[in-house]
């Protein structure tokens, strides 16, 4: 009941399904102050503080930590149940990995095939090299559609390029229609999870946001009260706004089709009601064949929300007279993805299908929530994707935001070896360090010590001597200087034994 993207979202769907549209009363215009409240601040890796600093701040918020722990546990349990019932889950994962790997190896071919088939079906394909160009294209298309507002389907890609801020600056108002994204937008908040962006908020907090921003002082706190308020608020937008903006889960090269899966049906509204539909997709979203969805649509919902199937699976091809949008555009965006593709060891990152199972499994994310990552892509996948999308110019603390426990790799539906990529990116961070970096000097010195038995023995003796002033009467160290002080903040360290194993072994050999 606290998981807004799951249960609460389900409540919206149920209500939508039960009540025909004509019965929905008109909400009228947004409550005063709403437009201003929708500005929000974006997560930007270029300006975000380093992970350890942001994490420290996030961990002060006990409510957030409780919400994140609870929500990730709920999804993890559901996922484990529906994955456990699949006898061929490991084979499916392998198939998913093979499909994605093959696609990335022939990405140029499949993108051009998608372009040709999408165009044939009546769509218009645009290519954007980076976020700026993608925003410019979308703004131009919205203006050409004659609208100064858009309804949006939940999309991490448009979050990545901060589209809403770009639209606003161009005088275009964007309405988020995914329930969780609506909560984020109304609360002037930022998404903290790839699939469940308002996961860090509980029901009581969401009620407060709705009461304030929708001007509903009498709003109840039952899930159906909140769902009903959101539904009334959104329905008016669906019927009025003529232009829709979406992301994409998959682009299908073989047919030129686009696929979006969702839980609420609000996405379906955005895909079918507007006259103009603009889809923004990273170039990594392409799949070769229609039948590849057979694998992906088993892997994705089970991994993402613990559902056997998404309640709404929309697949559309171009435009059709008298049915759905009259104009359909796809913006294919690179935004550093080709540079990720060029790196042999990092490129498996692009296989990601954005299920967020790694976030729910991650013991680090569990403590900090998503905002600490300073990027719309949080958790383990964010820790490898964000620095690469920044071409290692920003977010260098993220590859270290992991204990390398491997829980992410274990649950990844397309078998991305996230720990391996984290280590690879750490080596790239180290490459950027200067000659006089303290850590690098210490690491080089340690490596020299380990390359000789004599030096290693000397270092063991030296360490015993060096620590002796710090050892308490009970044989424990409670304080360490410098970088090592991170250890003794909450942990003690036992003193080094007087005799190493090798000394014991040699003494034993002599006595025999």
């Amino acid at each position: 009941m606290i998981n807004p993207g799951g249960r609460l979202a389900g409540a919206v769907c149920a209500l939508c399904a039960r009540r025909p549209m004509s019965e929905v009363p008109d909400m009228g215009h947004p409550a005063p102050g709403l437009v201003a409240a929708m500005s929000g601040t974006a997560l930007d890796p270029k300006t975000a503080p380093a992970f350890p600093i942001a994490a420290q701040a996030a961990m002060q918020d006990t409510q957030l930590r409780k919400n994140v722990r609870h929500a990730t546990e709920v999804i993890r349990t559901k996922r484990a149940r529906v994955v456990g019932e699949m006898p061929d889950w490991q084979e499916l994962r392998e198939a998913g990995k093979q499909i994605r790997q093959h696609t990335m190896e022939h990405l140029d071919f499949y993108l051009e095939q998608f372009e040709a088939n999408c165009t044939k079906a009546g769509g218009v394909v645009h290519w954007a090299a980076d976020a700026d160009e993608a925003r410019r294209i979308v703004i131009g298309l919205v203006k050409a559609s004659g609208s100064d507002e858009v309804i949006k389907i939940k999309s991490m890609t448009t979050e990545e390029i901060q589209l809403n801020a770009g639209l606003k600056a161009a005088g275009i108002h964007a309405y988020e229609t995914d329930l969780a994204e609506l909560i984020i937008q109304l609360g002037q908040d930022r998404p903290s999870h790839i699939v469940v962006p308002a996961l860090h908020k509980n029901r009581q907090q969401i009620r407060e946001i709705f009461r304030r921003e929708m001007n509903l002082p009498e709003l109840g706190e039952r899930p159906q009260d909140l769902a009903d308020a959101a539904r009334r608020f959104l329905r008016e937008k669906f019927l009025r706004v003529k232009t829709g903006v979406s992301g994409a889960n998959f682009l299908i090269a073989e047919t030129g089709g686009v696929c979006i899966v969702e839980s609420e049906g609000n996405g379906r509204m955005c895909l079918t009601l507007p006259e103009t539909l603009i889809t923004v997709a990273g170039i990594d979203k392409v799949l070769p064949r229609f039948e590849d969805l057979e694998v992906m649509l088993q892997l994705l919902p089970r991994s993402a929300t613990g559902e056997r199937m998404n309640p709404y699976n929309s697949i559309w091809n171009g435009v059709h007279a008298g049915d759905g949008p009259k104009t359909f555009h796809v913006v294919l965006m690179d935004n550093a993805r080709t540079s990720v593709l060029a790196d042999e060891e990092g490129r498996q990152t692009l296989n990601c299908i954005r299920c967020a199972a790694c976030l729910n499994a991650c013991p680090v994310y569990r403590q900090t929530g998503g905002h600490a990552y300073g990027s719309v892509y949080a958790g383990p996948i964010g820790a490898i994707l964000t620095p690469q999308l920044q071409q290692m110019h920003h977010a260098q603390s993220l590859p270290y935001a992991s204990s390398l426990c491997g829980a992410c790799y274990e649950v990844c539906p397309v078998k991305i070896n996230i720990p391996e990529v984290l280590i690879h990116l750490r080596s790239k961070v180290v490459e950027q360090k200067g000659m006089f970096d303290v850590e690098a000097a210490a690491m080089r010195a340690a490596a020299v010590v380990f390359r000789s038995e004599r030096r290693f023995r000397a270092a063991q003796r030296l360490a015993r001597a060096a620590e002796s002033p710090l050892v308490g009467k009970d044989g424990w160290i409670g304080w360490l200087p410098g970088m090592l002080g991170g250890w003794t903040k909450v942990r003690d360290l036992k003193e080094i034994p007087k005799e190493s194993f090798r000394e014991w072994w040699e003494k034993r050999g002599r006595s025999e």
Partner: protein
């Protein structure tokens, strides 16, 4: 035996216990004196170039061994996960062949007992209440599964209690514990809470690095609960050693 650098220096009693168990089972233990470190800390922190000579050193020290027993799941994981790739990176055919051949004979201590020797009961006696933490590298990289638990269940006198969230990381993660000390501490707090909830006298694992982390907090809080490497439990016998 490859004791590993930190066990050699900080946990000699674990090495002694491995020797005791293996000799009790009738095996001959050798300790090549030139051994130092597997290179895990360097490799995982991003210093891959520094780790390479350490791999070459390990291979030179152990290439003639019948079996290499290592009482550290994370060091074995380092070797299995990364040595083949590191060797291939050098382009040296002989090194690649030696690494591939040697890795087949490298075993984490509990794995050597359960998988290589096919044992569960190693004749141990340990009359204490104990809980087991599944170290991440042993659990996910080595696939130790319930092997360590089966060894523990066969120990006479032991009162083995299940740990809640047994598969959740303790938050050590090598340099993670100092680079992200706050998050690491929060993860550790969950782990020590789970350990204390078992009312065990000691928490055991196949990796002293996790145990050093857990022990650090248990001691800071003066809980009176200790940590002990699996080998030290299996080395226990009626003589009280």
């Amino acid at each position: 035996m490859f004791i590993t650098c930190y066990n050699d220096t900080l946990f000699p009693e674990t090495g002694m216990a491995v020797v005791r168990v293996l000799e009790r089972l009738g095996h001959t233990v050798e300790f090549p004196a030139g051994q130092t470190c597997c290179g895990q800390m360097h490799y995982n922190t991003g210093y891959q170039a520094e780790a390479l000579p350490l791999m070459e050193r390990f291979v030179a020290q152990f290439k003639d061994a019948e079996a290499v027993v290592v009482p550290s799941s994370s060091c074995v994981a380092m070797m299995r996960e990364h040595y083949p790739k590191m060797a291939r990176g050098t382009g040296k055919a002989q090194l690649i062949a030696e690494v591939d051949a040697l890795l087949l004979r490298v075993f984490e201590f509990s794995e050597f007992l359960t998988k290589r020797l096919g044992l569960e009961d190693v004749g141990a006696y340990y009359p204490h209440r104990v809980t087991y933490h599944a170290s991440c590298h042993g659990l996910r990289n080595l696939g130790l599964g319930d092997g360590p638990l089966r060894l523990l269940k066969a120990v006479r006198g032991i009162d083995l209690v299940e740990l809640e969230g047994v598969e959740q990381c303790c938050g050590f993660g090598g340099t993670f514990a100092v680079k992200n000390a706050e998050v690491s501490s929060a993860m550790l707090a969950e782990k020590t809470t789970a350990v204390l909830n078992t009312r065990a006298e000691a928490c055991t694992a196949c990796d002293n690095s996790c145990l050093m982390h857990i022990q650090g907090a248990l001691h800071r809080q003066r809980t009176g609960v200790s940590t002990v490497h699996l080998a030290e439990i299996l080395a226990g016998d009626e003589g009280g050693r």
